[in-house]
C-alpha cells in the first residue's frame, strides 16, 4: 500500500517537474538570494533564507504552472513545446490549475508571514506574470515581454526588500537589470523558433519588426542590462576589484552587442544571448561575494 502511494507521488512529481521550468525557476531563485545578500543582512539567518527561497520557489513554480495551463493551446501548436505534459495530455488541465493555485497561495502566505512588504512584491511578481503578461497581453502585442521582464525582476527586488525592509533605488536598479536582460532571452528564442510562434499566432518582435530590428533591440537591451547592473554594483559600494571585473565583462558584452547590431547573424546573436546569460550570472555572483561580510 505504502509503496503504491510512493510510486504514485514519484510519478506525479515526474510529470509536474517540467511544468515548473526548473532551470528558469532556479535562476530566478539565484536572483532572489542575490537581492537578499545585497542588503548585507546576516547571512546565517537560516530561517529567513529558507523562508525567502521556499516562498519564492513556491510562488514562481505556481505562476509557471498557471501559465502552462493557460498557454496549453499555444504549446500544442509549437514544435518546441508540444511534448510538455499539458499539451501532450499527460496532466489534466483542471488538476494542474488546482495545483498551480494551491502552490501559489501557500507561497504567498509564506511570503506575507515573513514581511508584508516582501509579500506584496512577491504578489506583484505573480500577478504581473500570470494576469498581465500571460492572460492579458501575450496574445495581443509583442511588447508584452516588458511585463514578462518586470515580473522577472521581482524576485531580486523581493530578496532585497526582505533583507532591507523597504524598497530602495539599488533594488530597482537590480530589478531593471533583470528586466533588460530578459528580452535577450525571450527575443533570441522568438528568432530561433519564429515559425513555431507564427503557427501559434503569438505576436513577436521578429514577426512585427523583422529579424534585423529584433537583433538590434537584443543588443541595446543587453547594453542597458549591463549599465543597470553596473550602476547597481557601484551603488552597493563593492570593492574596486569587482568594478574592474565588471568593466572587463561589460567590454565583452558591448563588443558582442555592437557586432550583433552592425553585422547581425544567427551565430553572433545566439552567442550574445549566451554571453549575456553568463554576464548576468557572473554579476549575481559578484554581488553575493562582494556583499558578504
Amino acid at each position: 500500500m505504502k509503496s503504491v502511494l510512493v510510486k504514485k507521488i514519484k510519478h506525479k512529481l515526474k510529470l509536474y517537474w517540467p511544468l515548473i521550468k526548473s532551470l528558469q525557476t532556479g535562476l530566478l531563485l539565484i536572483t532572489g538570494f542575490t537581492g537578499y545578500i545585497s542588503a548585507r543582512c546576516p547571512v546565517l539567518n537560516i530561517a529567513q533564507v529558507l523562508g525567502l527561497l521556499g516562498s519564492l520557489f513556491l510562488t514562481i513554480s505556481g505562476s509557471t504552472i498557471l501559465n502552462m495551463v493557460y498557454d496549453r493551446d499555444i504549446d500544442a501548436r509549437m514544435e518546441r513545446t508540444r511534448k510538455r505534459p499539458l499539451p501532450a495530455g499527460k496532466v489534466k488541465p483542471a488538476e494542474a490549475l488546482v495545483a498551480g493555485l494551491v502552490v501559489s497561495v501557500i507561497g504567498l502566505l509564506w511570503a506575507f508571514s515573513l514581511s508584508i512588504m516582501f509579500g506584496l512584491v512577491v504578489f506583484a511578481g505573480l500577478f504581473i506574470d500570470v494576469v498581465i503578461y500571460t492572460i492579458w497581453l501575450k496574445r495581443k502585442t509583442a511588447w508584452s515581454i516588458i511585463w514578462g521582464g518586470i515580473s522577472g525582476g521581482m524576485p531580486i527586488l523581493a530578496g532585497r526588500v526582505l533583507g532591507l525592509g523597504h524598497i530602495d533605488s539599488i533594488g530597482i536598479l537590480l530589478a531593471l537589470a533583470i528586466l533588460l536582460w530578459i528580452p535577450t532571452h525571450i527575443l533570441t528564442f522568438s528568432i530561433r523558433y519564429q515559425d513555431d510562434y507564427r503557427r501559434a499566432g503569438v505576436p513577436t518582435f521578429p514577426s512585427t519588426y523583422g529579424i534585423a530590428g529584433t537583433q538590434r533591440i537584443i543588443a541595446m537591451s543587453s547594453i542597458g542590462a549591463a549599465l543597470a547592473i553596473g550602476m547597481g554594483i557601484y551603488a552597493l559600494g563593492l570593492s574596486w576589484g569587482y568594478l574592474r571585473l565588471l568593466s572587463v565583462l561589460t567590454v565583452g558584452l558591448v563588443g558582442l552587442s555592437l557586432i550583433s547590431m552592425y553585422r547581425p547573424s544567427d551565430r553572433v546573436n545566439f552567442g550574445l544571448f549566451k554571453y549575456a546569460s553568463l554576464f548576468m550570472l557572473g554579476s549575481m555572483m559578484m554581488v553575493v561575494f562582494g556583499a558578504m561580510p
Binding site: R244, L245, V248, L249, V251, G252, R267
Partner: protein, 198 residues
Amino acid sequence: MKTLSVSDRLFFLITVFLAGYQIVNGIDGFDFWTTLFLTVAFGVLLLAALLLFLFGFEILENKLVVVVATLAPLSLSAALIFAFLPRYKMVYALFAGLGFLGIVFTQFKAPGKIPVLFLAPVHAVAGLIIFLLPLIRSFEGKAPKSFALVGVGGALMGLGGLLLAFLKSGAPILPKKTIFSVFPLLLALTTALFVLGF
C-alpha cells in the same frame, strides 16, 4: 575545425575563473597605470577564454583576434615596466602604443607579409620583457621567488602565440589539430602561473 571537448571547455572555464579572481583580488597595491595594464592583460585572457568557450575555435579565424591577442602581452609587459623599471616607462609606453597602432593598421590595410613583419618584433620585445624581467628580479632577490612564475607563464604565452601566429601565416609548426588540442591547457596553465606569480 576541431569542436570543443569537455576538457577544452573545462580549461577555458578555469582560465575565466583564475583571471577573474586575479582582477578582483590580485592586483591591488600597484599605481593607477600598472593596475590598468594588469586589468587589461588579465581581462583579455578572461574574455579570450570566455569567447572560445562560447564560440569554439572558429573565433580564432577572425582578424580581430590578432589585434586583441596583442593587447595581453603588450599590457602585461607595460605593467612590469611601470612597476619595476619606472625609468623606462615613458619610452615603453610610446613603443607599446605605437606598436599596437601599427599592428592594427597593418592587419587591416597592409598587403602580403607586412603585417607579420610588424607583428613579430613588437611581440618579441613584449615577450622578452615578460619572460626575463620577473626571472631576473626574482633571482636577484628583489622580488619573491614565486615571481619567477610570471616569467615561466610568459614563456608559455609566447609559445602559444608562436603556434597560433605560424598557423595563421600558413606554415604551422605543429598540425592544426594538435595546436587546438593543447591550446586550452596552455591558456589555463599560463593564467595559473601569472596568478601564482603576482
